[in-house]
Symmetry: C3
C-alpha cells in the first residue's frame, strides 16, 4: 500500500542525513585529534564537542517532530531508535575525544588511529545510506558494509587492547599501570562507537524488512 | 496500603510522584553516607538499598498496571520509559553507595559531595515536576532546570576525575593506583545517576510535546 | 534451510526456545573454560564465540519474522525486547570468555566458577520456561526462580570482587594491580550476564501479566 507523504512527514529524511553528516564531522575531528600533538588536543576536542552539541539539537528536532506529526513515514519506534542510535554514535566519539584530553594522555599507542579510521569510513557509509531510507534502496548493501566494518573494528580493538594490557615488556611502574587503564577506557569507547554504527545499521535493516 | 478510588488510568500519576519521592530518600541517604566516617557507611548503605528495593516495587507496580489497563493517560511506551528511567536513577544511586562500602574506600576526594549535592537537587526538582504530568503544566521549566543541573554535574565530574587520575603529585604507589581506579568507578556511577535524571526529563519532555 | 509450514504467529515460540538452548551451550562452554588450564582456554573460547554467532542468527531470524508478519502472538515491542534480552545474555557470556583469553589471565580466583554455575542454572531454567510462553503456564514460578538466582549471583559477585580489590594481603606490586583490574572486568561481565537473565524474566513476566 502506498501512502503519499506530505512535506511535513517527509521532513524526517533530511534530518537523518544531517545527523549522519554531523557524525562525519565529529569523526574527522577525532582523527585530527588522534594525529595531533598532545598540546593541540584540547582545541580539537572542543570542535568534537561542538559536533556533539549539533547532534543533540538534530536528535531533539527529530524527537519533537516525531511527537507532533500524526503520520510518520515508518514506525514511530523505528524513528525513535534510529535517531537515538545516531545520537549514541556521536556521544561515543565525543566521549573518546573528551577522555584523551581529560586524562592528559601522552602519545597514543599504534592502532588507535586505525580504530578512528574505521569510524570515519563507517560514518561516510552511513551518510550514503540515509537517502536510501526514502526510496528503500540499497539498504541491504549498507547493512552488510557496516557489519564488515564492525568486524574490522573488533579485530583492531582486540589487538590494541592486548598491546596495552599485556605488553611484551611487563609493566613494572605504577604510573604506567594507571596510563594503561586510561588508554583502555579510550579504546573501549572507540569500540563502543563502532558498535553504535552497527546498531544504526540494524535499525535501518529492521525498517527495510518491514517496508519490503 | 490504601488505594485511591480514581479511574485506572489516573493511577499512574501518584505512582510516578512516589517513585520520585523515593529517589529523594535514596539521594539524601547517599549524602549522609558521603559525609560519614568510613565505619558508619555500611549501615547507611543498607538504607540506600532499602530505598532501591522500594523503588523496584514501585516500578513493578507501574509495569503491572501498564499491562493490565486498556486505556493509559499517555503512550504505553512513554510510561514504560518514564518508569524505567526513574528506576535507573535509583539503581545508579544505590550502586554508588554499594561501591563505596564494597571497595572499603578511605576518605573521599573533594568534589564527591558536590556531585551528590547536584543529585539531591535534581531529585527534589523531579518530585516537583511529576504532578505537572497530569496537568501538563510547567514541564518545560523542569526540563530546562534538569539540563542545567546535568551541565553542573558534568563540570564537577570532570574536575573530580582529573583530580583522581591526574593529580598534581604523580602516583608512585601501586596501592594508590588501585584506590584511584576504585574512586573513578564511584564518581563514574554518580555521573551516570546525573545522566539518568536527564533521561527522565527527556522522557517527560517527549510526553509533553506529544500532548501539546 | 527448511521452514516449517506452521501458522506464522506460532513460529516465534520455537525460536525463543532455541535461543535459550543456545545460551545453555554458551554457558556450559564457559564453565569448561573457567575450569581449564590457561593454555586450553583459546580453543574453548572459540566455541563460546560460535554459540554467540548462532545466537546472533537466531535473533536476526526473530527480528526478520517480527517485521514480516502482520499478526504477532503478543506485542511487537515485547517480542523485540525478549529477543534482545536473550541476545544480551549470550553477548555477556561471550564477552567474559573473550576477556579471559584476551587478558591472558592466570588462574582465576575462587568464586568465578560459582558465578558461572549460577549462569548455567539460570540458562537451564530459561529453557524450561520458554514453552510456557505459548501456554502462558508456570511463568510466575520462572520469574521467581530467576530473581532468586540473580540474588545468589549478586552475593557471589560482591564476595569475589571484594577478594580481588581488597585482599587480606595488600597489593604491593604494579603487575598485580593490573591483574586485579583485568579480573574485575571479567567478574563484572559475569554479573552483567546474571542481570541479563533477570531482564529476560522481567520481559516474560510483563508478557504474562498482559495476557492474563
Amino acid at each position: 500500500m502506498a501512502f503519499r507523504l506530505t512535506p511535513h512527514e517527509r521532513g524526517f529524511y533530511p534530518l537523518f542525513t544531517r545527523a549522519a553528516e554531523n557524525i562525519v564531522v565529529a569523526a574527522d575531528e577525532l582523527a585530527k585529534l588522534v594525529a595531533a600533538e598532545p598540546g593541540a588536543r584540547p582545541e580539537i576536542a572542543r570542535r568534537v564537542k561542538d559536533a556533539e552539541n549539533a547532534g543533540d539539537e538534530l536528535t531533539h528536532e527529530i524527537m519533537v517532530k516525531l511527537n507532533k506529526v500524526f503520520v510518520t513515514p515508518f514506525d514511530r519506534e523505528d524513528i525513535y531508535r534510529l535517531a537515538s542510535s545516531l545520537d549514541d554514535v556521536c556521544d561515543a566519539i565525543e566521549e573518546a575525544a573528551d577522555r584523551i584530553v581529560l586524562y592528559r594522555l601522552g602519545p597514543l599507542p599504534p592502532g588507535v588511529d586505525a580504530q578512528v579510521d574505521v569510524l570515519q569510513r563507517a560514518a561516510a557509509r552511513t551518510v550514503l545510506a540515509m537517502p536510501g531510507l526514502e526510496k528503500m534502496a540499497q539498504l541491504q548493501e549498507y547493512w552488510i558494509d557496516v557489519n564488515s566494518l564492525e568486524n574490522e573494528a573488533d579485530e583492531i580493538y582486540h589487538r590494541v587492547l592486548a598491546g596495552i594490557l599485556s605488553p611484551a615488556e611487563p609493566i613494572t611502574d605504577p604510573a604506567a599501570v594507571l596510563e594503561a587503564i586510561k588508554l583502555k577506557e579510550v579504546v573501549d569507547t572507540l569500540e563502543e562507537a563502532a558498535d553504535a554504527f552497527e546498531t544504526v545499521a540494524n535499525t535501518v535493516e529492521s525498517i527495510a524488512v518491514k517496508e519490503a
